[in-house]
Amino acid sequence: MRKGLSLFAGAALATAMATSAAADTFVYCSEGSPEGFNPAFYTSGTTFDASSRTLFNRLVEFERGETNIVPGLAESWDISDDGLTYTFHLRENVKFHQRSDFRPSRDFNAEDVLFSFNRQMNENHPYHEVSNKDYAYFGYMGMGEAIESIRAIDDYTVEFKLSSPNATFLANLAMDFASIHSAEYADEMMEAGTPTKVDQTPIGTGPFILAQYRKDSLIRYVAHNAYWEGKADIDRLVFSITPDASVRYAKLRAGECHHMVYPNPADVAEMQDDPNINVLSQPGLNVGYLAFNTNKEPFGDERVRQALNIATNKEAILEAVYRGAGQIAKNPIPPTMWSYNEDVVDYDYDTEYAKQLLAEAGYPDGFETDIWAMPVQRPYNPNARRMAELIQADWARIGVEAEIVSYEWGEYLERSQNGEHQTMMLGWTGDNGDPDNFLNTLLSCQAAETGGNRAFWCNEEFDGLVQQALRTTDMEERTALYEEAQVVFKADAPWITIAHSVVFEPVRPEVKGYKMSPFGSHYFYGVSLEE
C-alpha cells in the first residue's frame, strides 16, 4: 500500500476517457480518508461512504433515502412463526467486480454469504485473524450471540438460525458490516499468500469498482457495468478528500466538486442564496440530550427531573447553539424513525411551575449540582459548552446552582460511564434505523449496568415494553410498544431531550437524483449529471 494503490492501468483509463469524451465524472468533496475498505472493521461514516455504499451490497438494504428494509442480494425471505429461523432466497445472475487483478469465474451465490458472515463469527475461520482487526459492529450489534448457525440449503438459499427472537435482526443485516464479499477472491488471495488484499482492495457486487486510492488525497471508482440493478448513470466517481469545510465550499463554488458534506453552519445561509448551489437538508438520525444521574440525590426524584426539564428553555438553545440547524427533541428517538410518537407532549418552559415542583420535592431554595459538557463538537451537539452555559442560566432562575464541568473527550466518556457526574450531556447517532438501537441501547436496565445508560435509569415498565418489542416480529405490534415506551420515558424524565440536528448537503445544480440518507451516509448510485 506504500505507493498507493492503482487497480486500473493509467493508459487503459486514458483510452477509455478519450473514446467517451462525454463520460460523466462525479466529484464528491469528502471530509477525510477512510480507515480502510472493509466496512466490517470500522464504525465511521467516512469509511462506510467509501466502502460499503459504493463497493458492496447486503442481503437486505435500507431503501434509498429511508430507514425501511427492502430486498438486496436476497430477493425475498421467510421468517418462521417462532421468529427463530430466517430463510433468504438469493438473487441470481449477480456479477462481482471484474478488475485487471481479478476475474470472477462465477456469479454471486450462498458461498459468498457464508464467507462474509463466518469470517466475522467463527474464530477458527481462516480469514478471522487476517488484517488483525476487530469486527466492531458485529460485536456491538450482538450478532455473535444472536446467530446460532448459518447454513446454505442450496446455491441460492441461506438459512440463519437465531438463539432468541430478535426483531432488529433484519435491520442489522442491512448495516454496513454485513456487506457481502466475494469468497472466490478471498480463496484466490489466500492461495497467492496475500489475504490482506481482501480488505485493502476488496471485490464486491456494488455499483462502483475501486480503481485508485491515495491516502488524504483521492479515491477513484469506475462504474460497475454489469451491476445487477443496472449500470450507474455516472461513469466515474471521485472522492476528493478535503478536510476543511471552508475549502470544500470554495471547491464547490469553483466547480471542482459537485457535492460537499458538512458545511460550516455559518456558511449555510450564503449557500442558500447562491443560484449555483442547491442546499439539501434533513433531520439527522440522532439526538442530543442531558442525562440526570438517577443514582444520585436529588435526581432519584422524578419531580426534580421534571422541574429541571420545565426550567430549560429549549427554544433559546436551538437559536444560540444550533443556529437553525436543528429541531427541538421531545422523544429520545428522531422524527425520521418509524414508531416516533407524535402525540407525546413536551414539557413547556415555565419557570414558576418549575419552582413549585421543586418545592414539592423538598427543594424550595434549589440545590447545587453540576452540568458536564463535552469538550468536542459532535453531530448531535455543535457546542456543548455554550449549551451548558444557557442551561446553567435557566436553572439558576429556579435556584439550582450548577457548575459546568468538562474533561478531555476520552476522560469524559470514561468518567461518565462510571457515573461520576450528576447531570451530563451526550447524544447518539443511530446505527440501523431501529428504535431498539436508541431505546434499548441508551435507556434499558441492562444498559444502566454497562454504562451505555448515562442516566442509570431503570424503569421496569419502560424496560418491559422495550424487551417485548425486541422479541416481536410484527411491525404494528412493535410500533405500538415503542410508542407507549416513549410516553413512559417522557413522564419519568430521565433526560432532557434537547435537539435533533439538521444535516445540510450542498450540491451543484447539475446534480440530479441525489437522495439524502437519514443515516447520514452518502450514496451515489442513482445520481446523474445534467449539462
Binding site: 480507515e35 477513484r220 478535503t242 471542482e256 474533561y407 476520552g410 454504562g451
Partner: protein
C-alpha cells in the same frame, strides 16, 4: 575539518534521546487514552478494554513501554498505528514526499524572494523601496497562515479562477505513484498537461507557507547586509574603484550570508510546523494532517514516530547548516 564534523555529529545523539523521551512523555501526559476514545459514546466492557489494552501493549508499566519503544526504534521499527494498523514508517513514507515537495518549494520561494528583497532594501536604505520591503515583511511575518491561505484561495481560485482551489492534482489526470513527488511523477507519466497542473497546484500553498520565512529572511538579510556594508574593507573596496555590483555580490553578500544561513536552517522547523496548517487548508496529503488527527485519537505510535522523524529531519538540516558555515566561513571550522 574532520574533528569539526565529528564533534557536531556527536552533539546530535543527546538531542535525539531528549526528543524521543519528550515525544513519549508528552503524548502519555495528555489526559485521555486511546482505548476510551475508540469506544466513543458506545463505551466498552472491562473485558473488552483489557483485551484491547493487552493487544496494544498498554497494560505494561509506562517505563517498560518506553524502553520497549526505544529498543524497537533502534532496530528501525517505529511501531504500528492503533487506528489503521499500518506500520508508522510506511504511512510516513507514503505521505512525506508531498510534505517535502511543498516545503522545498516554499523554501525556494522564501529564500529567493527574501534574499532579493533584503539586499535591495539594504542597498537603498531609507528609500521608498526599503520602506516598502520592510512593510511587506512585517505584514508577512504577522500574517496568520490560516487566514492568509483562505484569503489567497478565495481571490485567486474562486473569484479569478487562476489557480486550482486545493489538492495536488486535477482529478482528470491519472498519475501513477512512482516517486511520490508529483512534479516528477507527472513528468514520468504520459498525461499531457499534468506537469503544468501540478505546478499550478503548488503555487498558492508554497506562497502561503513561504510567507513568514520569506519575511524573516528579508529582514535578516537587510540588517546583516547593512552591518557588513559599514565595514572598513567595503570602504577599501570602494576606494579601489570596484564596481558597485561586484562589491555587493562578492564582498558584502558573502559575509552577510552567515547569519542568514543560520536563520534559513532554523526556518526548516518553522516550515514543517507551518506545513501542518497549510496542508489542512489546501487539502494537501502530507504528514501534517496525519499528525494532527493522530493526536486527537491518541494514536501514540503515530505521534511519537512522527515527532521523532520530524525532529530527526530538523536536527539533520541544522547539522548540515553547521557544516555549511565551515564552507562559507573558515573561522568556524578552525575554532576549537
Amino acid at each position: 575539518m574532520l574533528y569539526f564534523i565529528l564533534r557536531r555529529i556527536g552533539m546530535v545523539i543527546p538531542t535525539f534521546i531528549g526528543v524521543s523521551l519528550f515525544a513519549f512523555a508528552l503524548i502519555h501526559l495528555i489526559p485521555g487514552d486511546p482505548v476510551t476514545v475508540m469506544g466513543g459514546e458506545r463505551g466498552m466492557t472491562a473485558t473488552e478494554r483489557a483485551e484491547l489494552e493487552a493487544m496494544l501493549g498498554l497494560d505494561k508499566p509506562i517505563w517498560v513501554q518506553y524502553f520497549q519503544y526505544i529498543g524497537n526504534v533502534l532496530q528501525g521499527d517505529l511501531g504500528t498505528s492503533y487506528v489503521s494498523r499500518e506500520p508508522v514508517m510506511s504511512e510516513f513514507l507514503t505521505l512525506f514526499p508531498a510534505t517535502i515537495e511543498l516545503t522545498v518549494c516554499a523554501a525556494i520561494f522564501a529564500s529567493v524572494v527574501g534574499l532579493t528583497l533584503g539586499i535591495l532594501a539594504a542597498v537603498r536604505r531609507g528609500g521608498l523601496l526599503d520602506h516598502t520591503v520592510m512593510t511587506i515583511s512585517l505584514t508577512g511575518y504577522s500574517m496568520p497562515i490560516f487566514w492568509w491561505g483562505l484569503l489567497l484561495m478565495l481571490l485567486f481560485s474562486v473569484n479569478l479562477g487562476w489557480t486550482p482551489v486545493s489538492g495536488r492534482m486535477d482529478v482528470i489526470y491519472w498519475i501513477d505513484e512512482v516517486t511520490g513527488f508529483m512534479l516528477i511523477d507527472t513528468l514520468l507519466s504520459d498525461e499531457e498537461g499534468a506537469f503544468t497542473a501540478a505546478v499550478q497546484h503548488l503555487i498558492l500553498p508554497s506562497i502561503v507557507l513561504g510567507t513568514i520565512p520569506m519575511a524573516v529572511i528579508a529582514r535578516m538579510t537587510r540588517s546583516s547586509m547593512l552591518e557588513v556594508l559599514g565595514e572598513d574593507y567595503i570602504r577599501t573596496a570602494r576606494a579601489k574603484g570596484l564596481s558597485k555590483r561586484r562589491i555587493i555580490v562578492k564582498h558584502a553578500l558573502r559575509n552577510a550570508l552567515i547569519p542568514v544561513i543560520t536563520v534559513m536552517g532554523l526556518q526548516v522547523g518553522l516550515l514543517l510546523s507551518g506545513a501542518i496548517l497549510t496542508e489542512t487548508i489546501f487539502a494537501w496529503p502530507g504528514i501534517g494532517k496525519w499528525l494532527v488527527e493522530s493526536i486527537s485519537r491518541r494514536d501514540y505510535p503515530v505521534v511519537q514516530g512522527g515527532l521523532l522523524l520530524i525532529a530527526t529531519i530538523i536536527i539533520l538540516v541544522n547539522l548540515l547548516v553547521d557544516l555549511m558555515y565551515g564552507v562559507v566561513n573558515p573561522r568556524v571550522r578552525h575554532s576549537k
